[in-house]
Amino acid sequence: MSRSDDTLLLANISRRGLLKGLAGGSALLLAARWDLGLANEQAQFGAGAMPGGWVDDPNVFIQISSDGVVTIINNRAEMGQGIRTSLVMVAADELGADWDQVRAQQADADQDRYGNQNTDGSRSMRHWYQPMRRAAAAARLMLEQAAASQWDVPVHEVRAEVHKVVHPATGRELGFGELAKAARELDVPGRDALVLKSDDELRFIGKESGLINGELKSACPKAIDGEDIVTGKAVFGADVNLEDTLYAVVARPPVYGAQVKNVDATEALEVTGVKKVVRIEGTGQPAVFKPLGGVAVVATNTWAAMEGRRALKIEWDTAPAGGNADYTSDAYRESLEKAAQSPGKVIRQSGDVETALKNADKRVSATYYMPHMAQAPMEPPVAVVRIRDGKAEAWAPVQNPRATREGIAELLEMDKENVTVHQTLLGGGFGRKSKPDFVIEAARVAKEFEGQPVKLQWSREDDIQHAYFHAVSVDHLEAGLDGEGKATSWRHRTLSPSIASLFAPDPKHKGEFELGMGFNTMPFSIPAIRLENPPAPAHVRIGWFRSVYNLPHAWAIQSFAHEMAVAAGKDHRDYVLELLGPGREVHNLTVGDGWNYDEDPDLYPIDVARMRRVIERATEEAGWGRETGKGRGLGLAFHHSFVSYTAIVFDVEVSDEGELTIHRADIAFDCGPQANPERIRAQMEGSCVMGIGIALQSEVTFENGVAQQSNFDSYLIPRMPDAPKVVRVHLINNPDDAMGGVGEPGLPPVAPALCNAIYAATGKRIRRLPVGNQLS
């Protein structure tokens, strides 16, 4: 990984990083390179651009006790992506620790100490791989120095092996545990003194293990939480068990922005176990991460609290909700489809699209819809908060511990130093738990009970009806083809409320971070391109859902490219490879993308060669072009997101009765260097299944501002029979590029690939998600 080591190091240099730890000479050198390469202070990318930046101090992350146990602090949220295993494994490998003697400890919320902790944007490994390796390399060097000093030999004569330091000349050796105390007394070596292990010295990083496409190749290092999970001992948010805990649930306004007008709690207070009813002030719109308001029922157990809530009589005032109380998603879809017929704010333009469309031999046009969805992690939001003696302590499954801590501090008017947030395991996140509203609610209720912990549990109905919803999207595309079927023009209008409406007055247009998710970064090589974004107001609380606006953009673009291929009478794969054009690097700024997932476009350009490679790999593995027979077909889609590249081919069959069988999925994925291929495969497999739900089942609709689905009987997500019979993941071994994201980029191409396969099998074109009963 020679190039990526060097370049990632360069990308990681923030002013903060420079001030915090770089040894003098090296800092000057790197700072000079940084200035040459990146022009000015504003140009900060990667981990250094994140709040809190990065930290690589071994004293912060690595503790070795005299019995040899190595404890590695994990500062990122574990929500199923496996980061507690993978990042700890990175440090353990560089350190040379025996995996059986490695433990993980979860960091409390403290970005000043631990660097950025906001687990979002598929950033954990690409931002923390290098700092954790450096921290571990520094710790290893300190152990070597301690041993050399004890043996009174030059440090270059000793070397660390697995969990020990040896002096080959004399055969002496000392275990990490025996050296720990002396090593701890030493100064942390400067970054210029560190030598990271070469690839052939690594035991875990980048090594394939575990289950590979149905075959168990070799045992993988034990997952940190594996045994606890299968024995029921793992501690998720609701599993925090404190003496004298009170249990709370909240009745929230059914319409976004509505408030409590009156509440009659007489009957609720008569329910056995109910202790108190608490009015929670709503914070209006925009909601940010604050509670929606409502009425909390506090009891001696969750069931009593739920029964008490059922007995509440609440009159809601919808006036503060404004137009939200009239929001009906069907009508809204129609209004967006109509708006999509007129020009909008121009986002990117090259050539003369209108003339090219007029002169085209053939025109293709289509409008695609993706509905609201709820993240619906299996663990609904839940938090425990205890306030006593002017301090607050929270235990919660949160993706963003800093926002949690600051939100509690703000609510309670405390210094954040008086707020402790312990991060539990997350029973799934998918973006929902980036927003700590549920923890702040718990703090608000706990305020009523000095000294007593309050566990605030969301029901599934709460979770689905009061999600931070994935925004609805309408995408309208039109293309002109010449006599050969070659694309001469491409016009794409995208309409979707913006997540910015969660934080500020509704801008009604997508922001740079939303357009940059596959809309303006569309890499096709077409002479005339015009991308527009007409306005779309928000009427519900909108927020991130795994892979975010990449979902509708990939859904529309990848479906439409297939429609163009069909119109041109060409093979879909051949056609999209032609649309992409030759392998080349497209600099993000040249397509109007100044965001690029906060990464340096010089390091992370849109790499068409990598895009082509995943398409070629997925189609080869799937046997593209083979005869499938009646009612069966292959469908392809691909997408670039979170600075990684994914392509997927589905093999599906649809019976005469419209019953869909997914025989197989072939996923090709390129995230550059792979830290833990075993978990990368798992993320691709899981993304595939979640994406099938997005394609086939999942939808939240609204009537008069009220979500019409409330639990898994009406908001459908995939079950085992919905999964493909076979999922095969093909990792592109590409260590020479910069490291990309993993948790999200597998998701965007799934729905369009599946719908393209359905078309191949049946000739039925899906333009509105979910597919639902459109096949019958």
Binding site: G214, L216, G226, N241, E379, G428, D713
Partner: protein, 153 residues
């Protein structure tokens, strides 16, 4: 007073008859391995064994839980349960892990009733257990592995 027998141990609880077993186990007895996911028997995260039968504790009132209740905490001591757990570990099934206790309870009940299920039988039996991380293919493979005497004994 209601008496529950959980993993062989008797618990005297002062709770209403209609309290779902799930909340009695979690909030009153204080065992946290059995999870709340939906409250309406749609997801299976709360699955326990009641006299060996996989049962959704979220809709089972304590008054109906008169037999032997077994939870995920006791599966390591059950030969079939431990085989299933080991298969889960061998194949790296879990992602977030929240639903996996319920999945393991359901899979173990299946294998006790039908030690060599075919794929269709496994899929049918597991269709009531949701996993939002989408680990179904590995769950299926792990059940097949646990059922295979050659690899798992």
């Amino acid at each position: 007073m209601i008496t529950l027998t959980i993993n062989g141990q008797k618990h005297e609880l002062d709770v209403p008859d209609n309290m779902p077993l799930l909340w009695a186990i979690r909030d009153v007895v204080g065992m946290k391995g059995t999870k709340f996911g939906c409250g309406i028997s749609e997801c299976g995260a709360c699955t326990v064994h009641l006299d060996g039968v996989a049962t959704r504790s979220c809709i089972t009132p304590v008054s109906a839980a008169k037999g032997e209740i077994t939870t995920i905490e006791a599966m390591a001591d059950d030969p079939v349960g431990r085989k299933v757990q080991q298969a889960w570990l061998d194949l790296g099934v879990a992602q977030c892990g929240y639903c996996q206790g319920g999945q393991i309870m359901n899979a173990t009940a299946l294998l006790k009733k039908n030690p060599e299920p075919d794929t269709r039988e496994i899929v049918d039996a597991m269709a009531g257990n949701l996993c939002r991380c989408g680990t179904y293919n590995r769950i299926l493979a792990a059940i097949e592995r646990a059922a295979d005497k050659e690899t798992s004994s």
